[in-house]
């Protein structure tokens, strides 16, 4: 059976095409939640960390990871949940950050707020609420173009 094991580089490549169900413009790899991929005998073990402990997208993400790998002919898969070290937005890839902004979501910044409006790029922004439509986002608005926008919370 060893001969049929897919190369891990290929597995990472396939996973990089699995979209986040809530923010489909970025992949689960961009999001930084795939912590490891390894063969244990003839079983592929994928280590996944949740973004927020109560994020309802977690179950959907796990299902999509399994489906994507099965579609590539991998039948034996185990998903391992790892909560420490806890997920941080530092693990978001640069590519992911750029895609977020292009999609209209300001990427996270350690300074605690968006650098600029993802729409008109003005730096005159203010917070509406610390929370938003998903656990990972907050609501901000631009005082130049007056558009509200999502900010990906920095944690």
């Amino acid at each position: 059976m060893v001969a049929t094991r897919a190369a891990l580089d290929d597995v990472w490549d396939w996973l990089s095409k699995v979209p986040d169900p809530e923010i489909p413009v970025i992949s689960v790899v961009d999001l930084g939640i795939i912590r490891d991929v390894a063969w244990q005998g003839d079983t592929l073990e994928v280590t996944v960390t949740p973004t927020y402990s109560g994020c309802p997208a977690t179950a959907v993400i796990n299902m999509e990871i399994e489906n994507a790998l099965r579609a590539r002919g991998i039948d034996r898969i185990t998903l391992k949940r790892q909560i420490a070290p806890p997920w941080t937005t530092d693990w978001l890839s640069d590519k992911g950050r750029a895609k977020l902004e292009a999609y209209g979501i300001a990427p996270p910044r350690p300074a605690g707020g968006p650098a600029r409006c993802p729409h008109c790029k003005a730096d005159t922004v203010e917070r509406i609420s610390q929370f938003g439509s998903t656990p990972c986002k907050a609501q901000w608005r631009c005082t130049a173009c007056l558009e509200p926008f999502d900010y990906f919370k920095c944690i």
Binding site: S53, C55, I83, S129, F131, P135, Q139
Partner: protein, 240 residues
């Protein structure tokens, strides 16, 4: 040995998460509605981790859902504070502020716990709760130092809930960290916030006890559990 301490943590987040979820669709503004639902979601997520670990350590074949839905009020180990009814938005936010301030101090201490599973959950939860405390602190200040009406309601909420503060720091051997040691950081943050909010800390530190030991819950818990548990108890084998 650690099961009782794990139940205390998981029951706190479960009961408060359930309380907050009742605001969904009813909060005074859309942003507040979304915020309360998100905080409830974080707390229920943390519940799955704490009660999941409690069930595993207990080793009786139960899981987090079995603990949440198939125990009665006297089996719950949550603080009396979190089972208090939502009442108005002021009471809800004051309850949240008092709990968040204790919760953050407790989780911070638990990140250093010798048990790797306990430390891992605390490391995960502390990030979420840092955010909760920031928000409830801002809200207490805004409403306390707001209009005459909001100030009166926040002072009344503080007076009503203060007798439930003492239980958070009354420790025993079942606790996973020294609760009495959390009182100083709690007092520092609460005093600074209340001053800024122009609210007066009640003079008496009288404390109701009996939630975390399960000896004497208030009558409110049973009513809440009846709503929360009715579906899985009526249809115990139902699956999503």
């Amino acid at each position: 040995m650690s099961v009782e301490g794990l139940l205390r943590l998981g029951d706190n987040t479960l009961v408060l998460g359930q309380r907050l979820s009742a605001w969904c669709g009813h909060a005074p503004a859309l942003e507040e509605d979304i915020a309360l639902a998100n905080i409830a979601l974080d707390l229920i997520g943390q519940t799955q981790l704490w009660l999941g670990l409690a069930a595993a350590r207990e080793g009786q074949g139960r899981d987090a859902d079995a603990l949440a839905f198939h125990r009665d009020a006297w089996d719950f180990r949550n603080l009396l504070l979190v089972e208090q009814p939502n009442r108005d938005f002021g009471v809800t936010m004051m309850r949240q502020f008092l709990f968040d301030t204790w919760h953050l101090a407790a989780l911070t201490a638990l990140t250093e716990h010798a048990d790797a599973d306990i430390s891992a959950i605390a490391q995960k939860a502390v990030k979420e709760v840092t955010y909760h405390r920031e928000r409830s602190t801002d809200t207490v200040i805004a409403l306390g130092d707001g209009t005459e009406e909001s100030h009166t309601r926040m002072q009344s909420a503080l007076d009503r809930l203060w007798p439930y503060v003492g239980e958070m720091f009354a420790g025993d051997d079942a606790d996973l960290t020294d609760m009495a040691a959390l009182r100083a950081p709690f007092d520092t943050h609460v005093t600074a916030t209340l001053t800024e909010a122009t609210l007066v800390r009640p003079a008496s530190d009288f404390a109701h006890m009996g939630g975390k030991t399960g000896v004497r819950h208030s009558e409110h818990l049973g009513h809440m559990l009846a709503t929360m548990q009715v579906l899985p108890r009526s249809y115990p084998d139902a699956k999503w």
